[in-house]
């Protein structure tokens, strides 16, 4: 009896709050509708991966086929090359791109002149604001076999030119170099922010104790950004199958397609170009599940090693 009374009171309190603060609900409403329409409805749309979806019949009436599309994906002959191409690009990015922002942030952290540091920062941020279309255009200009700058350097050194844009062996290095050029500066911001929080007294104390540049970096600076590095690494590992669509698509052509076909471009080609909606959605779900498992695993490992992880 008493419990019921309390509950009734709480509902009453909520109602009073809602009436009194109705503008807050009015403010939140457009965003909420947006979230439901453009985020949650597509999530529900994932169900077509288990159907033979027919756009003319609609989701409700398309027949369910269970795991047919997943079986088809794993047994198909596209699967292994796709996995190899995707993982090659991701792992090369992890190996060569991932440490770059950390290294550059550590380097800039050693610069004492505020103006010089912000000048360099401004310069390395700029490529982040450039679209992949332009990155690809500049690459095309620089790597062109007849007139490109890179090839004229190679020609003056070796006397021959290299098919940088069409040769399959150059595709992956070019993708990684583009990434390093475009995103190193921006990726650095989060580490600089973490470094900004380090107490200056720590460095002064270390100096009094006779620690040089390297020992200060090793014992003060690196521990200060260790947590951030781990978080970025977990996110990166979770995204191993997401190479992104635009960059790869913009750099691929008829001649390098055998190395340029990754899961993201495959989903587009099979789904949008060929209209195999259900199969393409199944590929997307496979990617999502792998990403989730990877994040959970690396997070668990990070926690076991005494780091805080992402949750």
């Amino acid at each position: 009896m008493k419990k019921k009374h309390v509950k009734k009171n709480r509902i009453k309190r909520y109602a009073t709050y809602a009436v009194h603060h109705w503008t807050l609900y009015a403010l939140v409403l457009p965003g909420l509708i947006y979230l439901i329409v453009f985020k949650y409805i597509p999530m529900a749309g994932l169900v077509i991966a288990f159907q033979d979806f027919n756009p003319f019949v609609g989701i409700l009436k398309s027949p369910f086929v269970g795991l047919k599309h997943f079986r088809f994906l794993f047994s198909g002959r596209d699967f292994v090359p796709l996995l190899v191409n995707t993982l090659s690009i991701s792992l090369l990015n992890l190996l060569f791109y991932f440490p770059m922002p950390i290294v550059i942030a550590l380097l800039l952290n050693e610069i004492r002149s505020y103006r010089y540091k912000s000048l360099v920062q401004t310069m390395v941020y700029i490529p982040h604001f450039i679209s992949f279309v332009i990155v690809a255009s500049i690459t095309y200009v620089l790597c062109n076999e007849d007139t490109g700058l890179v090839n004229s350097i190679i020609r003056s050194l070796t006397g021959t030119t290299k098919p940088l844009l069409s040769g399959t062996q150059y595709f992956r290095p070019i993708i990684v170099i583009q990434n390093i050029w475009k995103e190193t500066g921006w990726g650095m911001i989060i580490f600089l922010a973490a470094l900004a929080g380090v107490d200056v007294q720590l460095y002064e104390a270390a100096k009094v104790d006779g620690a040089g540049r390297w020992r200060q970096m090793w014992h003060i600076t690196l521990p200060a950004i260790k947590g951030t590095i781990v978080i970025m690494l977990i996110l990166r590992v979770g995204a191993l199958l997401n190479t992104g669509y635009e960059q790869i698509y913009l750099m691929s052509n008829a001649l390098n397609r055998s190395v340029a076909d990754v899961f993201d471009t495959y989903v587009y080609r099979i789904g949008v170009s060929n209209g195999q909606y259900s199969f393409a959605t199944a590929v997307g779900i496979f990617k999502g599940i792998v990403g989730c498992v990877m994040v959970l695993t690396t997070n668990w490992l990070a926690k076991r090693m005494g780091e805080s992880g992402i949750y």
Binding site: Y14, Y17, L27, L32, Y34, F38, M43, G45, E110
Partner: protein, 303 residues
């Protein structure tokens, strides 16, 4: 960005070895900065060069023979200008929609007393982890009849959960006393939001606006997916076809046969088109850059 810049001010000055390393670090950092902007300088210089000089001198930053031919060609051709106009429309409308959605959504969520805060925040976090992915999104836009309309470019990317959370965290940093005293003076919730919170949040609003604007301006994929009408194509798509044509590939990446009389557009035109597509977004950047530290750092790091 003020980071440890007085770390060495009154400390021990250091040995000769320390200073040599310091000089080396300054040079190396400068070199990295130059490498980041060198491709732009190359494209900029080349866009003012003549075709002959571009062919003879592969590396040029300052052309010997100054020429405006490439830009004249762009003006006469008109395609990229039309694309730029379309891009400006999409970027302005998109940024306005995205900011309106994100800021109004973020404010109630920044209030600790807001009933339903936890539920809605969880809904947002779910979208950060799971998403429908390409095909369900494509089918949604199709079923909303947005194909070939700018709504298809504006709505799917409006309000990113990440940006919304940064704005929300910034709102939470604003001292509670300000809104409390406003309430005593008879200010309503909407009044607090529009007259106190928004004006105090200029740094974060400017930074996030730039992020959204850059996203809309640089978007290629959505335009390729949803816009088939050539009159509505944005600058990125048109730039892409100009560059590909010049490189002898068509949009699907297959080699083009130019025929006996045909020739790809000039190299300089390609460079000039790239420049006019970069400039509009880079013009905004210096005005907004000073807000980065105050805006995004507070929102992102303290979160």
């Amino acid at each position: 960005m003020k980071i440890n810049n007085n770390r060495n001010s009154n400390a021990i000055r250091g040995s000769v070895g320390y200073r040599t390393t310091q000089v080396f670090i300054y040079l190396f950092a400068g070199l990295i900065g130059i490498m980041a902007i060198l491709p732009f300088l190359y494209v900029l210089g080349g866009s003012f060069a003549t075709e002959r000089e571009l062919y003879e001198r592969p590396f040029l930053i300052i052309p010997h023979e100054f020429s405006l031919n490439a830009y004249k060609f762009i003006l006469d051709d008109g395609r990229i200008l039309k694309g730029l106009l379309n891009s400006i429309k999409v970027t302005l409308a998109g940024t306005a929609v995205a900011m309106a959605l994100s800021a109004t959504f973020a404010y109630p969520l920044s209030r600790k007393d807001f009933n339903g805060r936890a539920t809605i925040l969880n809904m947002v976090i779910v979208t950060m982890v799971f998403s429908g992915g390409l095909i369900p999104n494509y089918l949604l836009v199709k079923s909303l009849n947005m194909i070939d309309s700018y709504a298809a470019l504006i709505f799917p990317g409006a309000m990113s959960a990440f940006n919304m959370v940064i704005i929300k965290n910034f709102f939470e940093q604003i001292p509670q006393e300000l809104s409390e005293s406003a309430v005593i003076d008879g200010c309503t919730d909407a009044g607090i939001f529009f007259r106190i919170v928004l004006p105090l949040s200029k740094p974060v609003l400017a930074s996030i606006s730039l992020f959204y604007a850059v996203g809309y301006w640089n978007d290629y994929f959505n335009c390729m997916l949803y816009i088939n009408d050539t009159a509505k194509q944005t600058a990125q798509l048109i730039l892409r076809s100009i560059v590909l044509l010049a490189s002898g590939f068509d949009l699907s990446g297959s080699p083009i046969d130019f025929g006996p009389m045909g020739a790809p557009p000039e190299q300089a035109v390609k460079l000039a088109s790239t420049i006019v597509t970069i400039v509009p977004i880079l013009v905004v950047y210096p005005f907004v850059q000073k807000f980065f530290t105050k805006g995004v750092m507070v929102g992102a790091v303290k979160g």
